[in-house]
Symmetry: C2
């Protein structure tokens, strides 16, 4: 290839992004410093006000940015806990994605940059020098939901298609507004599993991550979806799709163990609601049930008509996690009080944190070691 100087590139018919990116590359943002402070920068000479909103485990921190004489706005955080942080700029009241960031929030409705403050030693969600499992995306046509849908499958690092070894299986459900791969892209579930398996802390398992939108039109409602009748229909239809269509597909294609003691269901927010609605109504299929920050069903007696102490005694683990700053915290407390009244044993996991990924990554890392034991 001829060595083309950048200025020459500008005169060609290159797509706009190459040419237009040359400018922005002089700005480094975000810059993660060795002391775990982070500097954000934004070149916007004409703007009158700029802030950065950082989504941390407890919710949101807003930091005012200041402009220098060259028109670059900047702000530096205090030292941050090792984590993966989402952030957005607000410039004159408008949300703006950092033009220089190179990692992104993955979500149907939200935009944002991502930055990693690394741990020392590395945090459990970081990609380390350990064997890695593969992640596969599959598609199928569902008669129950009336659409084509996808699902992801994590295979443990030791997986060998020629071996006859079988594995326990975790069905892991994303939240509302997540893409199907939310637990991979945002939750880092594959790296958390790789790390825990390498440390001998989690059993090698297969993890199946289905789409949680069993009523596809739900997404058309945007953030108003929980206030529509589709919300409940979506949760109630989920186990039909899972039990009648997806699990047979998975069990036909992968060497998963088929007994209830080797089958778990977990999920966050909407997926937490789907996990308890599915799990507690099908205790014959799932011995391990783990909602996180769950949007639990409204009318519990209606949602779980057959649940009683005898049923409950068959549950190996009902692991109910919620952050104390989560807007669903009270609902989860009410749910646990109701379960106690029905004589259903559970493990209550109350942590610090709001309704956000830093909580759920930690939840998953805490849950996996106790599954299938």
């Amino acid at each position: 290839m001829t060595l083309v100087a950048p200025l020459l590139l500008l005169t060609t018919t290159l797509p706009l992004f190459i040419a237009r990116s040359l400018d922005a590359q002089t700005i480094q943002s975000p810059e993660v410093h060795p002391d775990r402070t982070v500097t954000f920068r934004l070149l916007m000479p004409l703007a009158q006000k700029a802030e950065v909103h950082v989504d941390d485990i407890s919710g949101m921190t807003t930091i005012t940015m200041t402009k220098d004489s060259s028109g670059v706005w900047s702000a530096t955080t205090t030292a941050l806990t090792p984590d993966i942080y989402a952030y957005q700029f607000a410039v004159d009241g408008q949300d703006i994605l950092d033009p220089n960031v190179r990692a992104y929030v993955s979500n149907h409705f939200r935009q944002g940059g991502l930055l990693t403050v690394p741990g020392s030693p590395a945090a459990i969600w970081e990609q380390k020098e350990v064997p890695h499992g593969a992640v596969s995306r599959h598609f199928f046509s569902s008669k129950i939901t009336g659409d084509q849908r996808d699902y992801y499958v994590y295979l443990p690092p030791e997986f060998d298609p020629r071996s006859r070894k079988t594995y326990p299986v975790l069905y892991l459900l994303h939240g509302y507004s997540d893409y199907t791969d939310g637990w991979i892209a945002m939750g880092r579930a594959n790296f958390i599993l790789d790390n825990l398996i390498a440390q001998g802390k989690a059993k090698p398992m297969i993890v199946v991550m289905p789409s949680g939108y069993s009523v596809p039109a739900l997404l058309d409602k945007g953030w108003a979806a929980p206030q529509t009748p589709l919300w409940r229909l979506n949760v109630e239809r989920f186990p039909d799709m899972l039990l009648e269509e997806l699990i047979p597909l998975v069990e036909g294609g992968y060497p998963v163990q088929r007994d209830r003691n080797s089958r778990a269901i977990a999920g966050l927010s909407m997926g937490g609601g789907e996990a308890v609605y599915t799990g507690l109504n099908h205790i014959d299929r799932f011995a391990w049930i783990a909602p996180m920050s769950a949007a639990v069903p409204d009318d519990l007696a209606h949602a779980f008509p057959k649940l009683n102490a005898n049923q409950g005694s068959k549950i190996r683990l009902l692991w109910i996690a919620c952050g104390k700053q989560d807007f669903l915290y009270e609902e989860n407390r009410n749910f646990k009080a109701w379960l106690t009244l029905q004589g259903i044993p559970f493990t209550s996991v109350e942590t610090e944190g709001a309704h956000t990924w830093p909580v759920w990554r930690r939840n998953l890392a805490d849950l996996l070691p106790v599954l299938f034991r």
Copy 2:
């Protein structure tokens, strides 16, 4: 779940993105109309000037936006050819990602929204009601490149791990600045294959998409990488990684045919350079070689010291595609002139278009039907 009103959500510790997105949802952008025109909208009352840059097959089209009394800027295109378009706003000279778009350019350095103008009938890159192949992401540690790296594998829809059927294999290489999954996320290679296989126009095949960064530090150079010595090293190291490490891994894990007539290599831009450098220096391994918009090696006699007419007679297909508006068009013409001098037969595929994904999606759809025939 209690039905929480949006305004109530604002008062909780929900992550910022939920709360902050409520506003923006009143703006629809981009809006693709039935007549294939597209309207872009942006709420920025304080801005003085706004444009939208649309990356089309021929390069870039810039459209001036106008502001209404509510502070919303908008612009509508002429009727567009069915395609997937990347775009960016420029507001007072600064690039801004559309805050309302829900599909994104996937790239190490570039940001942008994506919009699909659907075809009627659907274009070959659209997801249709046909059987879909799975796409798997794998990781391995490379001694040659000194890092952990990933690769993606497409399996044809009919693939059954219990069958003994074997498949021809295409190694398909991304361009500089792409992520490893560029051919999936931007190139829609899996849907193109699904559609062509369903139509009987392409043979069922396995497609392996490796990382093309065999010198990982190359990415640290940003857009200046082609002007550094690392560029040539990166291309020259690629076949070692591919032939010594990745192909043995693939052939150990997947039922691919191992003869040269069943092995192809193709790629775009940097990956086109890697495809010809690897393929033409290893004709004993690859009978099918297909560079697209290739960044071909500088010094051809040095890059291909053993290439001669006798070697060339063994090539089943050398398919050299380049758009007439591509900034690498002249280099590709020079490359073809040099091949003619060496007595190497090739197929020249000159199309309309610049150095951009609309060209490469069409290239792939044109290439696949002639592979392994």
